[in-house]
């Protein structure tokens, strides 16, 4: 048993080293130019060992997408407190998401933008990660809009729609953020907040009949 444990730990550590190196290399040179040899070199691991562990460049890239998707999901989850109102959760989530994108500019560009546009199996990994985030936001809105009596302000279907709006907007704004390096994640959230307030104000003064 002890021997097994010892074997398992180094394998995880080595895999993490490989994926760290792969994220760096893919980010620097792009998926098509990157070679397994280069990634093995960056990880300080022999090329055959990389093949034994992760099989192929395609599987290495898929592992990178998966790992980075886990990181963004964890980051957003950690920022959202289950007992705060879902609106606050959405704002907190948006804020840490933009910070993540800005702090991981290179890997985000390659791993997400590239993965999303290069067909299967990469697009499938991205869809799976998106679906995890959508499910989490939906659950947060459902939990946060249940009244003490049990009835709901927002139905489950509407909660999912809100999650889709949030993720679609976050996606689209993260592209904008990467195109505007002069803008910080926090100033972007401030802009979005101000726009929401303009909307509320125009509605309240009767300028915005939404039907």
């Amino acid at each position: 048993m002890a021997g097994k444990q010892q074997q398992r730990l180094p394998r995880e550590v080595r895999e993490r080293q490989m994926i760290d190196a792969a994220v760096r290399v893919f980010s620097q040179v792009g998926y098509h130019t990157a070679s397994v040899e280069e990634i093995a070199g960056a990880a300080g691991i022999s090329k055959p060992m990389v093949y034994i562990y992760l099989g192929s460049k395609e599987r290495l890239f898929t592992a990178c997408i998966h790992r980075e998707a886990d990181r963004v999901v964890e980051t957003v989850r950690a920022a959202v407190h289950p007992d705060e109102p879902p609106e606050l959760g959405l704002w907190s989530g948006l804020r840490v998401f933009f910070r993540f994108v800005a702090d991981n500019r290179d890997s985000w560009t390659v791993l997400y933008q590239h993965a999303r546009t290069q067909g299967e199996p990469f697009a499938k990994e991205v869809r799976a990660a998106r679906n995890r985030v959508i499910a989490e936001i939906t659950a947060m809105v459902v939990a946060g809009t249940r009244m003490p009596g049990g009835e709901r302000i927002v139905s489950e279907r509407d909660a999912e729609i809100l999650a889709r709006i949030a993720i679609g907007a976050a996606d689209s704004l993260s592209d904008w953020l990467l195109e505007h390096p002069d803008e910080s994640p926090d100033s972007l959230v401030d802009r979005v907040t101000d726009l929401a307030l303009v909307g509320v104000e125009r509605y309240n003064t009767g300028d915005l009949p939404p039907s």
Copy 2:
């Protein structure tokens, strides 16, 4: 001169026939399975003629994306009246956009979802079409939020952010709409409107401090 005009008209007509046929064939069997021969057959035009006019399957598909993108841009533009407040324009635009997606379910799935995830040169066409829509929404918001005195409620940069939010949400919701055939475009817009009103109400009653 008259001869030239006569030659030009049939070429446009034939190209339209080819692209109509190509949209049908790509939608039915997907990009990879579709053949130029099948498209030529569906258009009632010889295969060599298709190659003379549009060059290759790749260029045919690109022409389809371009033409369908023009259609969606025209549809949304026609629904927005330049002298109504931009909020109303955004709602009208969203409504006709969802109707377009629902009415063109097959071609939307193949041409847009496929184009967006299959790398260059298709992704480039999709980006160009998105950028056209973003520019139109931005211009609409800028024009519609200028006060009589000339000052602006919403800066040009914020108008672009609003456009990015709108297009990101519309994108994400159109995927949702295609996954829920029991839902109509209008009922989806009603759900989004109701969610916006819940947001306004929660803000007004102090439940939603957005900072």
